[in-house]
């Protein structure tokens, strides 16, 4: 069972609340002060991505966040309720569209200035750069992003 669970209406204004709660639980779980900024930013990125996906496909469904501390790790799971699409990139690679190659700082290895719109995948690049460990899971309920950091707490 997660230490703290929350769900919120997929609106940008609530992402800040999710960031603040995640940071508070991380601190309580024994995550070092030096890592709290990384937790805050990575959780915000994951929630922003989920909100964007929900607004496009299922605006009435809440975004779910589970925060678990203990056993030397602080784990965050952000789950959206967006069904897999034919071109969401998960069918062949088990990773969402826009996920950057490991060696690249920017998604798809292209300069953001080469793109016609706002840079895609920057949020995922940020998550990959900040979280100590990141995993994706596509389930019937939606896409889960699991991130974790070391902690010295037990609960």
């Amino acid at each position: 069972m997660a230490t703290v669970e929350m769900s919120f209406t997929p609106l940008p204004v609530h992402v800040r609340t999710a960031r603040l709660v995640a940071t508070a639980v991380a601190r309580r779980s024994g995550v070092g002060e030096a890592l709290l900024d990384e937790v805050r930013l990575a959780v915000g990125e994951a929630c922003s991505r989920a909100v964007e996906a929900h607004q496009a496909q299922c605006p009435d469904e809440p975004v779910r966040v589970e925060l678990t501390g203990g056993n030397g790790r602080f784990e965050v799971v952000v789950t959206d309720a967006v069904a897999a699409g034919p071109d969401d990139g998960t069918s062949s690679s088990a990773q969402p569209a826009g996920w950057p190659e490991p060696a690249n700082g920017v998604a798809n290895g292209t300069s953001p200035l080469d793109q016609s719109g706002p840079p895609q995948g920057l949020g995922l690049a940020v998550i990959a750069g900040l979280a100590d460990d990141v995993q994706f899971a596509r389930t019937p309920a939606g896409l889960s992003i699991t991130m974790s950091w070391p902690s010295d707490g037990t609960s």
């Binding site: 992402v15 800040r16 960031r19 900024d37 805050r40 915000g44 700082g105 953001p112 920057l122």
Partner: protein, 116 residues
Amino acid sequence: MDLKLDHHTRDGIEVVDVEGEIDVYTAPRLRELLIELVNNGHYQLVVNMEKVEFLDSTGLGVLVGGLKRVRAHDGSLDLVCTQERILKIFRITGLTKVFGIHDTVDEAITARKSEK
């Protein structure tokens, strides 16, 4: 904290002072300001981020969008930032190679003037 925006002209360069959090909720306001400045003919921009407490990828996208707009008019968009936690995001995404990032507004203006 919410986002506070202000701007003023200095030595022919428009300086945008940003304070607070730039995230998925507040970034559209910064985007609107940058678009307004470009539409009003300001193509040399310096965005002062010294009082920015939080920046996410949405904010990065707005800054990249602003840079694209001014470059379409042979302009520039430089940043002022010394905060390590903000600079780290630029490094992770490789955007330190895209933006000119300076320690002070004076330095940013001087650097821009010297390139003219």
